[in-house]
């Protein structure tokens, strides 16, 4: 009983974590091996083998059935034979789905789907071909032909395609361009945030008038939604009315204020500016916490020994701050590497994909092209890259901790 107590406490959290986090991640990996396209009638789900959609079949069959008498006798006979076979193969499910459709009841997801073996699938296709061929000679039967043809959509081919998505993307220029953009953005913005954040933190570590006000103020950019920050900077950097764009061009940083959001370099630095503005405060607060854990007595004795400001910073602050810096860098790098909202709202990945990050590319594949197979593949690649980065950081953090223990 005693031993089980902690498990009762963690059980709800563990169940939720498995259901809403671990299972979906696994499912994304799974989807990356399929050709799933939500806008394609036959490719909306992951399937290893053929399946048969009774609802789609019956939708068409029930309509055709009404006009069977108008059809040539041979075609009508074939359609009847086909239906008989389908009915036999699907069994009770056929009756159930038909009943639900005739009474306008909702069909549960998956309820209308039955497995179909290869032999039956081939037979079904053959029948459809024969029927359409038989109807083709007759005039005025185009409507029926259309229905017979869409009956064929009821037969769902397997969507499993193995490594094909990965093979497609391993040498895909657009993906690597996105990886490059993400990496460049991460390095430049996180570096600037580290330098500015450190200066910030050193300032805030000293007592000065209005320090509390200042500390609250730095939290505001951190607290607003990134999407809203992107809208704000979209306004400030706008090519016609943006005040910051105007200042930047009159200071000579850009030739023309319209360039900020419309050229590749301009858009890249617009993203960097917005990101640095929003997240430097966060970096500064993490570093400030690290600074506050350094005992003041160290500085006092160093000052007595005659160490100047620079020496105290170089030989006391930096070495003792290493751990806080690494942790802050880890958090910020991972955050920056998965960036989506800032890019999506500020530049949309443009101009011409020049600022597209991996998350944005995956999003576009999934939600603009409805291609969830390829989108999941890109998401998996991003996941692996993020894991790889964390492993490197954790390795450095570990060796840092070990070094401190032996010293």
């Amino acid at each position: 009983m005693r031993k089980l107590t902690p498990y009762y406490f963690i059980l709800p959290a563990v169940i939720m974590i498995i259901v809403v986090a671990l299972f979906p991640v696994g499912k994304t990996f799974y989807y990356s091996f399929f050709d799933i396209q939500l806008n394609h009638p036959c490719k909306t789900a992951a399937r290893f083998s053929c399946e048969f959609d009774l609802e789609k079949y019956l939708e068409n069959y029930l309509l055709i059935k009404r006009s069977l008498s108008e059809l040539p006798a041979e075609a009508a006979k074939r359609i009847k034979a086909l239906n008989k076979e389908v009915k036999e193969a699907a069994g009770s499910r056929y009756v159930l789905v038909q009943q639900k459709m005739l009474t306008y009841k909702n069909i549960a997801p998956g309820e209308a789907l039955v497995d179909i073996n290869d032999k039956n699938a081939r037979k079904f296709r053959h029948h459809i071909k024969q029927i359409t061929a038989g109807l083709n000679n007759k005039r005025n039967k185009t409507k029926i032909i259309g229905m017979v043809k869409s009956m064929q959509d009821a037969l769902l081919a397997p969507t499993f395609i193995g490594w094909a998505n990965f093979k497609k993307y391993i040498f895909n220029l657009r993906l690597w361009q996105a990886v490059f953009n993400t990496t460049a953005f991460t390095i430049v913005s996180v570096f600037l945030e580290l330098v500015l954040g450190l200066i910030f933190a050193l300032m805030m570590n000293k007592v000065f008038r209005g320090r509390n006000l200042f500390r609250s103020a730095v939290l505001i950019p951190w607290a607003i939604p990134t999407a809203v920050a992107a809208v704000i900077w979209g306004f400030l950097l706008d090519g016609q009315n943006g005040i910051v764009a105007k200042y930047l061009s009159s200071l000579g940083f850009v030739d023309n204020m319209g360039n900020m959001l419309s050229t590749a370099a301009g858009a890249f630095f617009s993203m960097v500016i917005a990101d640095v503005w929003k997240t430097t405060p966060y970096m500064a607060l993490l570093l400030l916490a690290g600074l506050q854990s350094i005992p003041g007595s160290l500085y006092e004795s160093a000052a007595i020994d005659g160490a100047g400001v620079y020496k105290r910073f170089r030989y006391i602050t930096l070495p003792l701050l290493k751990h806080a810096i690494l942790v802050a860098l880890l958090f910020r790098t991972l955050d920056s590497f998965r960036i989506f909202d800032l890019v999506f709202v500020l530049t949309g990945g443009g101009p011409a994909n020049a600022t597209e990050t991996v998350s944005v590319l995956a999003y576009k594949k999934m939600f603009s092209q409805s291609n969830f197979g390829e989108g999941s593949t890109i998401a998996v690649i991003l996941f692996l890259l993020v894991t790889f980065i964390s492993i490197i950081y954790i390795y450095f953090l570990r060796s840092l901790l070990k070094g401190e223990e032996t010293a």
Partner: protein, 276 residues
Amino acid sequence: MIDRFFTAFRYTVVIVFFSALMFPFLWIFLSSVKPLTELFGEDAFKYFTANPTIAHYISIFVNYPFLRYLWNSFIIATVTTVYSVSISAAAAYAVARFNFIGKTILLGVVLAIAMFPPIAIISPLYIFLKNVGLTNSYLGLMIPYTTFAIPFSMWLLVMFFKKVPWTLAEAAKIDGANSWQIFYRIFLPLSLPGIFTTAILTFITVWNEFLFALTINTDDRFKTIPVGIAMFQGQYTIPWGEITAVTVVVTIPLVIMVFLFQKRIISGITAGAVKE
């Protein structure tokens, strides 16, 4: 002399940083009270308008469903925060208080989930929610938000709970209280400040979320405020007047919250990052 120089230098840097951080907000506010004609052309760069107006502020609530967006965000963020923090508090208590097999793995998984990209789970969640008809509903966002709300709040709570003294709990144990009573009657009241801090940070994180909100709730009736603002478009021109006004409106509550809870928020941000 050198000290005075450094003091002057420090104040200069502080003022420069402060201005850089606050300027965008100031500018957004100044633009939001300009009449439409002064938002474009040469007038767009003037700091102060001669004809201040609140027309844009009225417009966002009369002509556009921003009130609805705010309400949606509020409901979703509140409910998600309450149940995520409750579930996490129990788990964090066990992690901070007991030694059990699998604890290290649990903590590792929690940290890993807090770090991984949301795009990596969106495809199965989206397909699932679509199939069960939960897209465009409050529940449709609360479910995916749990993905990061639970690991995030659990991680923070473990940090806070480790600092709570155990002596009272030990005394209660001797008096015959069971684990649940110790947790509920003694431990929770003692650790309320940490729980409150965690709740604030979880609320902000959920309130600010964009990717899930953008893809799952596309209907105007269920959009959240970040998506509502970011996707806000006029018929012919970009409605900067309304955009700046609504930005000011959503920033004000945040400013109030930040000033009220500054110390707590900072302790929350730094709790997970500093080596004890």
